[in-house]
Subunit: 666 residues, 2 copies
Amino acid sequence: MTTFVGVAAMAATFLMPLPKDMTVGTGFVPITVSFAATVSGPGAQDARVQKAIPRLVARMARQTGIPIHPMNVPAVMEIVVAEAGHEGVQKLGDNERYSLTVADNHIKLEADTPLGVLRGMETLLQLVQQTPGAPGFGVPNVVIHDEPRFPWRGLSFDVSRHFMPVEVVKRELDGLAAVKMNVLHWHLSDDEGFRVESKKYPKLQELGSDGMYYTQDQVREVLAYAADRGIRVIPEFDMPGHSSSFLAAYPELGSGPGPFHVVHDHEEEPSLVMDPTKETTYEFIDGFIGEMAELFPDEYFHVGGDEVSPKKWIGTPHIKEYMDAHHMAKAADLQAYFSKRVLDIVTKHGKRMVGWDEILNKDLPKTAVIQSWRGQASLWSAAKDGYQGILSANYYLDLSYSAEHHYAVDPMKQPGKVFDLTPEQAKLILGGEGTMWEELCSPEMVDARLWPRLAVMAERFWSPESTTDVASMYERLDATSKWLEWLGLNHRTNPRLMLQRLAGPYPVEPLDTVASLVEPTKGYSRHAQKYGIFSTLNRLEFAIPSESDTAREFRNGVDAYLADKKTGEELQRHLATWEQAAKDVKPMMTNQSVLTQELPVAEGVRVLSEVGQQALSFLRGTAKPPAGWKKEAEAKIAPYVDQRFGDLLIQIAPGVKKLVAAVPAS
Amino acid sequence: MTTFVGVAAMAATFLMPLPKDMTVGTGFVPITVSFAATVSGPGAQDARVQKAIPRLVARMARQTGIPIHPMNVPAVMEIVVAEAGHEGVQKLGDNERYSLTVADNHIKLEADTPLGVLRGMETLLQLVQQTPGAPGFGVPNVVIHDEPRFPWRGLSFDVSRHFMPVEVVKRELDGLAAVKMNVLHWHLSDDEGFRVESKKYPKLQELGSDGMYYTQDQVREVLAYAADRGIRVIPEFDMPGHSSSFLAAYPELGSGPGPFHVVHDHEEEPSLVMDPTKETTYEFIDGFIGEMAELFPDEYFHVGGDEVSPKKWIGTPHIKEYMDAHHMAKAADLQAYFSKRVLDIVTKHGKRMVGWDEILNKDLPKTAVIQSWRGQASLWSAAKDGYQGILSANYYLDLSYSAEHHYAVDPMKQPGKVFDLTPEQAKLILGGEGTMWEELCSPEMVDARLWPRLAVMAERFWSPESTTDVASMYERLDATSKWLEWLGLNHRTNPRLMLQRLAGPYPVEPLDTVASLVEPTKGYSRHAQKYGIFSTLNRLEFAIPSESDTAREFRNGVDAYLADKKTGEELQRHLATWEQAAKDVKPMMTNQSVLTQELPVAEGVRVLSEVGQQALSFLRGTAKPPAGWKKEAEAKIAPYVDQRFGDLLIQIAPGVKKLVAAVPAS
């Protein structure tokens, strides 16, 4: 239960995920140049804790601008780690509980384990703010007892469709740790590229990566970076489908004759599949997984298993013969067989197998873990059958849905569905993963596609089930988004640079304003464009966040105004600014060739802003609508409401439509 | 001579420094995913050229958003290097000439040497822009013949008063190369800290650096990075003054008894000096310079020599005795003796000595190089006496003067002074250095203090003497400032983060707006505050550029309006926006304690904007001034014109004052 008193509201606006239990007092502990932390207890010497302390100090310095340095004074912060934590690799379910007590000019962070210390430090850093009265920064007096709701809280991160260099992966790991996530599910192979050096099968990177892959040293560097931050790394090598990059390197693995090659252009061919009828396929998989199982220390190992094209098997004579001979009626039966064989291999190498929904079948051993991209129902059904599972459905960050959309999704409930699992079955639902596929995302935009929306999933997986207030979420998400920039994430700064690139020699401000009112289209609608790893992604749709804060605030502002008629003047001022920007942006759009196709968007913003201002002046009674105005206005805005312009939506259209609708017909 | 035709005006707005000779045609060479460059000629295998090509491609990709990658098509760009260039270390005066011909879908870069190739590549990258018509990027057809005016074009960079980590130094080297500068003068020791590992005298870093120094490996890393970019690195170790960090480590070098320590707090004590009367001092200097002369390969070696306090010598009995015994009447005579001894040591180790003005004296050998911080006159006088010299006077970036101020300074001329050097003497004037002292600058603000203003000095040192048009300079500086961000310089993005830190939970926009109208106070006025290496520099004055573009544009706008009465409405709109922002920012300033002291600035902006709007409405005739308005208005704005608020100036005040003055008294 969360209790707020005193300056609680202020302190609470900074936290995401919200802690399980929090009491805020009055007063602050100031952060000064002499800030320092001591650590004691059986876990004090844990390397993660020892490395985390200087990171904490450096981040505190960056967030405050105070040049904190060692001084000969008593430390203001005390860390106590009750247990040493087990040796070796972090495990699913490792204790992450912590307590944070800020009072009497003292900060005390207590945790059972080193992991708990890491989580508590992030909470502490989120609480830093300017102290009232004397100029400076501090941490409000507060008592927090916190622990996560789910043990598996992660990001599924595709680096095949667009390769993400090591520094990007590290940056995202910083972000994950900052919102207390603990899993990076690293999607390392797909049709578009194989991304890890194999010493045993070097053709994988030589022929399957276009030269874009992580060396094993780089993998180890990432793993160490993640481990230091309390994040497990689960590798995924997708098979038997999504495997063109395997087949480009080793065509003998393929169903049917080659030549195979890495997919550069999405349209060029459907997903290729491995041949599950040949023993040599399993020999390869055994050797390959053996090598990778050693490289990646986590207990879990993901083998994909999604979207296997039945045609590729049934259409191949020797495979069809094999199926007939083994009484397999459907391709799914053959996949079940393949999954079982792969599971045996994964198990032999000391790992638990994770796969997407499709691997599920009645013969699958219960050690398998199901990652559901189809919905809660398949997760619950798997749990009933005794399988562990994690939810990814409706957590797809690449589809440009709003934070609110994702926030509403809960692994344990779904409107209109009955959750009838026993407590024991419920425990098999481990948590979830935000999921980011990179077909339409290059490294320069990836931070902005992940953040800040991933933070609301972090909250869903960490905070109590009752944490569902959308207004509070957006307020805290805004604070979190700003705060995440101190880690070096560029989700706010890089889109500005990209808009600048579009504006060229023109002042960027009108483009900034118009861009803040539009969003990319949702779902898979953007996939209609031709795309591939070497497509140029520099147009406006790639330089804007997936969700427009300004448009959402306008929508809420219109609802509020129509309810209480109070803030009409402010709305009108915004609409006037947008109209001006829409006019100012046109010469730029006309002359900057990469922007020219967006001229209809500028015109739409202009028309909507103009009509919106008229509607408001009528609603506010500062003017009277001429006869027939409403009908005309509806016709004028119709081309911009729920219409796509290329892959863009003008998201102030619904609000303007409501304003027009509210004007009485004359 | 620079000739512009066709789209010339557009192309020219991107270039800084302006080339010596340029002809712009019509049409573009498009940049596509298959962009590639071949290189031929005797210098083709030079490592600098070989490493520069992939950097060029990566930067082209970043500037365009096009995923350039190797394809099996003919290269669009051809590089020809006529000479191999000499072996080993880059030398003063090495040929930097290049020609760039963009025509007929082909880019040809020709240079005598690898250095010329590097310079030409920067010009090419600055020319990249969106192509008219078809969406995409390209380079305009152009013929450029270019070479520098001066051979020594650098930045004097203090890393003692605030230590600048290696990644900062590398970033600035990228910036220097981008504007064709070729010297990093690295001020590595001062009272506040000694910043290089000495293996021979390890106490220097152990006792003189607060743990903030470059290891020799890091120095070599920086040197290699600079050499790859055609930049010479001149180390400076300041002596006999500004040497507290030497004395903290080796007190026996000091004039008078210790204990000595590194200066943490500017007020605590004046600059300490070495004892020039003891042979052991020279033995130490010999050993030390011997080690450093090996570490730093450049032919030139800077030994400081500035601001030696005579009192420290004359007030010490054994030094006074020594001076009397050797017939030295003044401390300057003793410094002359010291300089001569040090020059002999520097020469013995194979280097040419550089020092600040003060080293100059009648007995100084002509091999010494004079860096003038006092003005052109001392430079010319030194040249007359046969000394090489470089100008730093009036190029001090830390003093917050405008780009225009620095742009007006020329090593070879000065208003009211007669330059009466022979051509041979004139050649001794090698160029100049922008100079950045870091007393009031931490690493998070250093990019914004250096850039973009340093680019105008780069132009002064590279472009023809006649390149002096201020309006053109500001237009190109704006483009250059944006373009420099593609290199990772954070001069535009980091101040935004720092403003965000000040704004805390409040929307940052009104603070952005108000901050865009103010500047730090000029010259040494800011040094009245208590400061030191561990001072907290997080207030508003540290989060704003040294020059306000908005205020300058407003000033120019007012002048234009008063001349032609055309743009009054636009000016009024700006003033209205500023008035609103000044109102909106007050709650934030009241509650955010680090901002609270700036409330008078917000009030000043509010009053000035209000009065400015009134004045404009009277001037435009949309309203009539009430009796006595002018007198009242003058009284109202007086507290904000030419007044400092802490260390801030409200820079729209002069423009508003002019508007009020233009209203007829009533």
